[in-house]
Every structure is written in C-alpha cells, then in structure tokens.
C-alpha cells in the first residue's frame, strides 16, 4: 500500500512540476478573482455623466443593507420599504431619481425579495406594484410564499410522499426571515456557475496527460516492463486524476469564496437562504448552503459551523444545492440526499428511484449512503439527466464510534456536474 501512495506522490510531482500546469492554475485563480470583482469595474451614468462607480455603489448598498441587518422581514419592514418607494415619482428610469437615491435605495434589497414572492406567472411584479402594496397584502407575505411553494411542489413529478416531505421541510423554515446583508454569498453563488468551466479548463490541462504523457515522453516501455506498471500504477494514476480534479474544484471554490468574502464582505452566513432563493424549501442559511455545497465550512467562522450543524440536523434528509448550473451544458441542479434513517450496521444502498424530480427541470439525484462500521461513510452520487450519468463516490471519515454516527455527522456534500466530475469534502467535529 505504501508504494501506492508513493506512486500517487510521483504522479502529483509529474503534474505539478510542469510549467504549463502552474501557469494554468495561476490563470484560473486570476479568472476567479476577476469573475468575483469584475462587476465592480465601470460606472453608472445619469444624463450621460458618471454618477458613481460600481464599486462605490456596492459599498453604498452594502452600508444600507447592513443598516437593516438583524431586523425581521415582516409587514412592518416591508411597509417601511413601500413607504419609501412611494416617494419615487413616475419616470422611465426610477433609479435615476433623487428620491430613489436618497429615500428608497436603502430598502432596495427588501423590494427585490418582495418581488420574487409577489411575482406571478402572468405578471411580473414591478416597482409600481410595490408602491401599491397594501397593508393586507404585506401581511400575507409568508402566506403568499407558502402558496407559491405548494404550487411549485405540486407541479413536480415527485411522489406524494416526497412532496409531503418537501413541504414539511418548507414548513420548518423560520418566519419571518431575519434580514441580513448577503452580498458576499450572493456573489459567491453566482460565480459558482462558471467555476465549473474554469475547473474543467484546468483539469483538461492537468489531468489529460496523466496516461498519454507517458507515451508522449516515451516512458511507457519502462513502466510496462516494471512490476507495478500494469496494475498499481494505473490505480495510482486514476486516484491522482480524481483527487486532483477534486482538489482543483475545491481550490477554485475556495479562491472564489475568499475573493467574494474579502471584496463583498463576510456578512450573511447566518441569514436564511430564502433571502437569496425565496422558494428554496430547506430550513438552512447562506453559510450552510455555501459550506455544504462547496465544503467551505473549513474557511468559515466557528459560530457558522455551529449553525451549519444545526441546519443539517434540522434538514436531516435532504439538501438542495441551488447552484452550479452550467446553462449551456446542463441546467439541472444537483440534489443530493443524505438519509439518516438508513443506518444499519450493514451497507445499505440508498433507494435510487424513490425520489426523482423536483421543481421542473431540477432533479433529485439518488445518493447512496453506506456505513462501514461507524468509522467511515461512503457516499456515492449518481448524477443522471439528459442522457448523461456520472457516478462519484467518496469516503467520509467519521471519528465517532457511535453506532448512529450517520445521524450525527454533518456532511457537506458537493455537486457532481458534467463539469464538476468530482469533489466532496466534509468533516466531523
């Protein structure tokens, strides 16, 4: 076994010693930084003159949002926002008005959240509608949201039991939401859409020559004539390929997270995910989403980790990863289940077809959770859709010897996409 790890080490050495690999990695980090901060370049104009830079706008909006942080998103706050928006005169471009800039802009986040709730299939909720919101309508904010959620879930092809579970989860969401500034997380979630492409680019350069490089260099004969050249080395190369792909995903994600947080701010880890995705049916927060879907809990503050645990304990059976849709390739979201109730001493495959289909084009993908004597959990996920299927697996160390560790171990599960062939990290505290 030692020689296996030595071979893995040499494979890494071969890859990382290449100048092209180092250049590509650096490029990917630069692209990641630019993806995060790119929106801050440029200015906004009023009457052909520079009004403010995008960076200044972000700083200003962040300050406004921070001023409202901690307040409950209830009828009072929404009506406060409505009152401010009422001051805006009817013009073609309301954002250019002094009234908007001075009175309404501090509540722009509230307007944006309200819009997602009050939008209907036939009519897009606009600024005029917001100005006209009545006290009665505002009081029905969470009821409207719930109705919309029910409608969405009912419209899916899930089994009735799955629908019930989905709605039960939704019912667990604490309302009213506590408002918080979430600019860093929002940006992080957005750039994850393209992170897969950058990762794929890096992987193509790094992983492609894993086998072919030996032929190109002419080292194949030496390898094939050696004792471990036809078996252990192949396993070592495969492991290197998978682990490197995971490491690249993780590194780029970490870079994206770090850039997002440093530029836009660390706030919002504890804010409910519904502030960003109003119709997500899981009682979890931004931090938990980011951590679980990208294993970034390692980079987060301890109190967030606590929340993350709590969120998972509450969610228990499901986690919906709400991003990493690469629209050109495949728009499906990857949904991973982790079932705590399947925790016998034997390896129990997860029922693959029990939960399938959620929210239109999104899918639940079956995940298999296996127990191995309480020491580790093997999670494998099959991502299927549009005629493609990828199965990945990873072993999650579990340091507790408790027989029901599956229930206790908070697991952050990462997504497997066509562009994200591998990547999972998790932890246990």
């Amino acid at each position: 076994m030692n020689s296996f790890w030595s071979l893995v080490g040499y494979e890494y050495k071969k890859i990382l010693h290449k100048k092209s690999v180092r250049v590509v990695l650096l490029l990917a980090v630069i692209v990641s930084a630019f993806s995060v901060g790119g929106t801050l370049f440029g200015n906004s104009y009023v009457d052909g003159e520079v009004f403010e830079s995008n960076y200044d706008a972000m700083v200003k909006d962040r300050a406004y949002a921070r001023a409202l942080a901690g307040r409950k998103l209830d009828g009072k706050l929404i009506m406060e926002a409505v009152s401010a928006y009422v001051e805006i005169p009817q013009t073609d471009k309301y954002s250019d008005t002094v009234e908007y800039q001075t009175i309404a802009r501090p509540y722009s986040e509230i307007y944006l959240i309200s819009r997602t709730i009050f939008d209907t299939a036939s009519r897009r909720f606009n600024m005029g509608d917001f100005q006209a919101l009545t006290d009665e309508q505002v009081k029905q904010f969470y009821v409207t949201r719930r109705d919309k959620q029910v409608q969405l879930v009912e419209g899916t092809g899930m089994s009735n039991k799955a629908k019930e579970q989905m709605l039960a989860l939704d019912a667990q969401i604490e309302t009213p939401f506590t408002f918080s500034y979430t600019g860093g997380y929002t940006r992080f979630f957005v750039i994850m859409y393209t992170c897969g492409l950058a990762a794929a680019f890096v992987m193509a350069i790094c992983v492609a020559p894993l086998f072919s490089g030996e032929y190109t260099l002419g080292a194949d004969q030496l390898i094939l004539a050696s004792k471990h050249g036809k078996n252990r080395l192949i396993a070592a190369k495969l492991f290197t390929g998978f682990s490197l792909a995971a490491a690249i995903c993780l590194a780029l994600t970490a870079a994206g997270y770090a850039f997002s947080m440093c530029i836009f701010g660390f706030d919002g880890g504890e804010a409910p995910l519904q502030l960003l995705y109003a119709l997500v049916a899981l009682p979890t927060d931004h931090g938990a989403s980011g951590a679980a879907s990208r294993s970034l809990h390692l980079f987060r503050l301890p109190d967030d980790i606590g929340n993350y645990h709590a969120a998972f304990r509450k969610a228990k059976i499901a986690f919906r990863c709400n991003y990493t849709c690469w629209p050109i390739v495949d728009c499906s979201n990857v949904c991973l289940y982790l079932r705590s109730k399947y925790r016998t001493a034997q390896s129990v495959p997860y029922p693959p077809n029990k939960y399938d289909g959620i929210l239109g084009r999104d899918r639940w993908y079956p995940i298999r959770a296996f127990r191995t004597g309480g020491q580790a959990i093997l999670v494998s996920a099959s991502v299927c859709g549009w005629g493609k299927c990828i199965t990945c697996a990873i072993c999650i160390p579990c340091f507790q010897k408790s027989s029901d560790c599956l229930n206790q171990v908070p697991i952050a599960v990462i997504l497997f996409k066509q562009f994200m062939p591998f990547g999972i990290v998790f932890c246990n505290y």
């Binding site: 071979l7 260099l217 002419g218 080292a219 004969q221 030496l222 004539a225 004792k227 471990h228 050249g229």
Partner: protein, 288 residues
Amino acid sequence: MELTLDRVTKHYGSKIACDRISLTLHPGVYGLLGANGAGKTTLMRMMCGVLVPTFGSITYDGIDVSCEDYRDALGYLPQEFGYYPEFSALDFMLYIATLKGIPKLRAREKARELLELVSLEKEAKKKIKTFSGGMKQRLGVAQSMLNDPKILILDEPTAGLDPKERVRFRNLISRLGADRIVLLSTHIVSDVEHIAGTILVMKDGRLIHQGALEEIIRTIEGRVWECIVPQALVDSLCERYPAINMRQEGKDVFLRLVGDEKPCDSAIAVQAALEDLYLYYFSEVNAK
C-alpha cells in the same frame, strides 16, 4: 533459471516482425545481432511484456511473461525511452524503484550505489533535462539494474557512450551475466564479440544463427578476403561483394571483402571476424 521462448510470433497486419522464434536462455550473456528492422526490438519488447505476441509463449521458470512475478525478475533498458525532464536522476531512480516494488530505504541505498556505478553520483540531484545523451544512457542502464534482475534485457545499452564508458559497461555486463540471463542487442559488433557467450543473429524476423562466437564465425570461414587492387577495380568489386574495410594504399586500394568466391586473383582468404559475418548477412549487396 531458464527463459523459454516458444514459437514467438508477432504480426503487424501482414508484416511479420518476428517469426516463430524458439529459444531457451540460461544464465549468461546473449548478444542479439541484426540489421535495422530485423525484429530485435520487437522480440525484446515481447520478452519484457511491453508487446503481446501474436502467437507463442514466453516463460521464465514457468512464469508467463504477463505475470507480475515475471516483471519482478526483469530489468529492461529500451532502445529509446523518455525521462521526466523535471525529475532529478535520484528522483527518477526512486520512481522506477517504486514501480519495481523496492522498499523505500532499500531503493535509496540501491539508487545511490548504481548512480555511483555509472559515474552519476555527482549529478544525482541534477535535473535530467540538463544531462547529455551519454549521461541519460548511463542513467538508463542504472535503472535497469535497480531490482537486481534475473533477466536483464538491454536494447543498445552502449549507444551514445564514449569508448571508456563502453569498455566499463562491457565489463559490467560481463560480470552480471555470471548469475543471470543478459540479452543485449547492439549495432556495435565488437561489444557483442567481447562479452556475449552466445550470439543470436536475426534477419527478417527470423533467428538465422545462434551459438558461440566461434561457431557463428565458422559459417563464413573461408569467405573473407583481403586484396590490394587498382582504383579502377574498386567500384566493380564493391558492387559484387560487401566491403568490410577499404583503405587507400598509395595508388592502389586495400579491400577486405566477404564473398562465396574469390573476388580477384590477388585476393587471399583471411580469418573471419564477427563484423564480417554481420556484413555478410546484412550488407545491401547481399540484400539485393
């Protein structure tokens, strides 16, 4: 200790690279001679498990060539092979040692010992991309001996080495052949002549001769001629007979030729050498 080849055949489409080669090798040094394209490298690659024979079998003490145990007993220096340019000589040796399943501590010790043997100890930590052709070749020879192989297959091991290194390697290979099977192919006939106990001659994928040097040479005994001829005759003689040696001697030319018949009246039969045999079988004149 016996390496057995039983009707080993390799086809590439309609081309037969090796044709029903049967051999039994025991400890000792075997020299494989043959022109380019004779099938030497193909045969060696099959013996190393790099190529799979189309037909026939290769076994070492009953272990098939495809088995890990066979490769465990094997050391191979390919004719042309690649190095990882960013690796140092020591890294490369340790990597090959890992591939050969040698424990780490032993590998480090053995790698240093072999690097010293091939006079690369001072360059052990230098990157291979800075090495000359000869240094790379020495490194190649060193890696082939890492696992103290029972079967050592060397495809042109002395190519690129200076005469001093060549002599050193010849002596080393000679010593190694005492308790293992060493098969080497080379175009440098004198190397084979000096160290190979048994010479194997391949032509067009077939083994046409095998035996000790004296036995092999006997096949052309009485067919090697030396003569001094006028310049005008040189071209016509060289067209009919493979010329082994040609030297200007005043207005005339000294020729050493191989042929079944006396090439000219002044020619005298001389003692044959391995190079004569090589040219006799592989010269363009005979190929025609």
